[in-house]
């Protein structure tokens, strides 16, 4: 009788250990998921086009180069103005 009672107590103890271990596991997982959601930021994708030699290529700049082959008058003034792109906006 006494032996049976002791056995049951041991079973309850073991069961509780597993329950607590599971709860700890779930809590740790939740903490990690929360931490990764805080650490994750918006990923900014940027474009960097380059030609075979590795020089960066701008689609729109090539249009200016074409225009210079027709007329390169006031080139310095034009280049100065073009290089200001994005500075005022």
């Amino acid at each position: 009788m006494l032996n049976n009672k002791n056995n049951k107590k041991a079973q309850v103890g073991e069961f509780l250990t597993w329950v607590i271990a599971t709860i700890v596991l779930i809590v740790v997982l939740i903490i990690f998921i929360y931490a990764s959601s805080i650490l994750s930021a918006t990923k900014y994708l940027k474009v960097n086009l380059s030609d075979d030699s590795g020089e960066s290529v701008d689609w729109v700049t090539s249009k200016t180069q074409f225009a210079y082959t027709i007329s390169s008058m006031n080139k310095n003034r034009i280049q100065g103005w073009i290089s200001q792109a994005g500075e005022n906006g």
């Binding site: 597993w18 599971t22 596991l25 779930i26 997982l29 990690f32 998921i33 990764s36 959601s37 650490l39 994750s40 930021a41 918006t42 990923k43 900014y44 994708l45 940027k46 474009v47 689609w59 729109v60 700049t61 249009k63 200016t64 180069q65 074409f66 225009a67 210079y68 082959t69 027709i70 007329s71 008058m73 006031n74 003034r77 034009i78 103005w81 073009i82 200001q84 792109a85 994005g86 906006g89």
Partner: protein, 178 residues
């Protein structure tokens, strides 16, 4: 002997549950960290500006549709989007609000301060976002992304023109973390 077999069975089911929990947890962490949103608006506005430039100038010469006998074609703004095959209603989830804006300004070499002609298309409510100084805060990240491109081209009479393109992409709901 019989009892032990039952315990083993329960224990192995428990281990499967634990494994599923851990596996699910790792999946959730990776998904949350590497998952959306990916902000592609900067690339999109660059491409958009490129497409506008393509429509304005080919091999250094401006599109003849931009001009009429008296000078610039004042009506070009009404037909430009259509002529260039721009379709602003391609994405679902934004209702009727257009998520794009563009502005094209033409300058003379003699006066680089004030444009001689300009036109725009799309939703002009986005334009103001371009002039707000962007800081690295959550609210600022929701602002529209803008690209300014400048180039030089000539008309058919070999007159020099400087062109400034401003292209803007809204779409913060899908691209920026809310």
């Amino acid at each position: 002997m019989r009892d032990k077999r039952g315990t083993d069975k329960i224990l192995s089911i428990y281990w499967f549950v634990v494994l599923t929990l851990i596996g699910g947890g790792v999946f959730a962490m990776v998904y949350v960290f590497y998952g959306p949103p990916y902000d592609v608006r900067e690339i999109e506005s660059e491409i958009f500006a490129g497409r506008i430039a393509d429509c304005l100038s080919r091999q250094g010469t401006l599109n003849p549709n931009l001009f009429v006998e008296e000078g610039f074609n004042q009506e070009i703004g009404n037909t430009f989007s259509e002529d260039c095959n721009f379709n602003f209603n391609v994405e679902e989830g934004y209702g009727d609000e257009i998520q794009y804006f563009y502005k094209v300004e033409f300058y003379e070499v003699t006066d680089l301060e004030y444009p001689v002609f300009s036109f725009y298309g799309g939703n002009n409510n986005w334009e103001m976002d371009c002039y707000i100084k962007k800081e690295n805060s959550k609210e600022y990240r929701k602002l529209a992304k803008c690209t300014e491109k400048r180039f030089y081209a000539l008309d058919e009479d070999k007159n020099q023109h400087l062109i400034k393109i401003l292209s803007v992409i809204g779409k913060s709901e899908k691209n920026a973390k809310q």
